[in-house]
Symmetry: D2
Subunit: 135 residues, 4 copies
């Protein structure tokens, strides 16, 4: 069974737009919260990985918007690993209304790892193994 992490928070007023719903770019911020929590539940902090000179940059992001989220709605982001190799990591996200369970959006992000020199490098062994536990 693949590991799934859950991130919970409420929609901020700042995240709404004049349509009265959450502005579409903010779902990518929520996916990032999902990634951060996913790593934590696997036993590491993405922060440490950056301190060791390995940066997971985003190569691709995609989102399908199914239903609007509104101010103060309770949100849950479910994050799981979709693909994992030493060079490439893909996360998949399901963003739901935490009370109704309704899926609001589904997303995917593809990441490559670079070093402090901005050049591609493989994921440090320790983090790769920890991630493998969530695959």
């Amino acid at each position: 069974m693949p590991h799934v992490s859950e991130s919970r928070f409420r929609v901020r007023y700042a995240e709404t737009d004049q349509m009265g719903v959450v502005y579409y770019a903010n779902y990518l911020v929520w996916m990032e919260i999902g990634r951060t929590d996913f790593c934590k539940t696997l036993g590491f902090n993405y922060k440490e990985m950056e301190r060791e000179g390995a940066y997971m940059i985003v190569a691709e992001a995609a989102c399908r918007y199914l239903a609007p989220a509104r101010y103060d709605d309770p949100i849950v982001v479910e994050t799981r690993l979709d693909r994992l190799s030493r060079r490439l990591v893909t996360f998949a996200y399901s963003i739901r209304h935490a009370e109704t369970g309704r899926v609001l959006a589904e997303g995917k992000t593809v990441h490559v790892t670079i070093g402090a020199d901005q050049k591609p490098r493989s994921i440090p062994k320790r983090y790769f193994e920890l991630m493998g536990n969530g695959a």
Copy 2:
């Protein structure tokens, strides 16, 4: 020849993150600037369309990140219509460094039109025809 609009601005400090580059969600904000300008160059203001009770909501968004953008970089967003029907509009974007011409990101957004009642409706005739001129 399909119509292509150009939007020009500089990267804001607010748009960078601790990696020293533009945070990935902000490219979707830039695409929205592109859409706004694209409509204007076709002769209408998206603002008016909302005032007439037609809202173009985002159904899908995708972005490929090719090279980082940095604080104060001059950016140009090229926007064009990828597909157009009364129910569905797809925009395609090319985000470049305005001086070097280097492509930083490529994106796509798919939109459906809804009314003030949140229900799907077709694009008002006037706007559909104006958009058709840019296809």
Copy 3:
């Protein structure tokens, strides 16, 4: 004793800038989270107030930045009512690192209430009384 609400969350990657710390405008977003929670702990949802046609707009905001917040830091926003009249509400905020207790920022916002017609109006009686309980 004046009522003090506590809002807890972690710093998002999106909230950092290239200096490696939280971008200064985001503290105002955190104050808004504080206001939302303050109202809830007094027994009402600001959302309802808007539905009844009363909008608390910001007339003034100020923030003193004392120490930087960093990615993934646990934050607590303490919110209290500083002044309350039917026309004017002032909130005061203390933003701390939730583990060390260190004060990162202190802020204040002044609000006036307007109606759906954008004109000043007094705070609806029910909400005014509930707020009075927190003064």
Copy 4:
């Protein structure tokens, strides 16, 4: 006569909130655009100053909101130096609707300079002198 720089742009859809106006924290982002342009009109790029290991961090920010800004409104930010010493710089901002000239907001930010070691330092001589020309 003190130097005043002008920054011009249009309100982004992303900057609005469900009240239909620009969310209050975004005015601080606009002030930062003002600062960037102010430095440029004095002949230097803030970016260079950071490269030389001098970071102007925000110690205080304040804003008075006088009239709402709306999606696609043309905005002009007028920035001037309010106080200047080797240790402390204060900027003042007037944010207007570029067509009507109406003042939408007035703000102030106080900055101190720190080094790469996060400790206070004075503004590098070259930048201090250039700023002095705008005082």
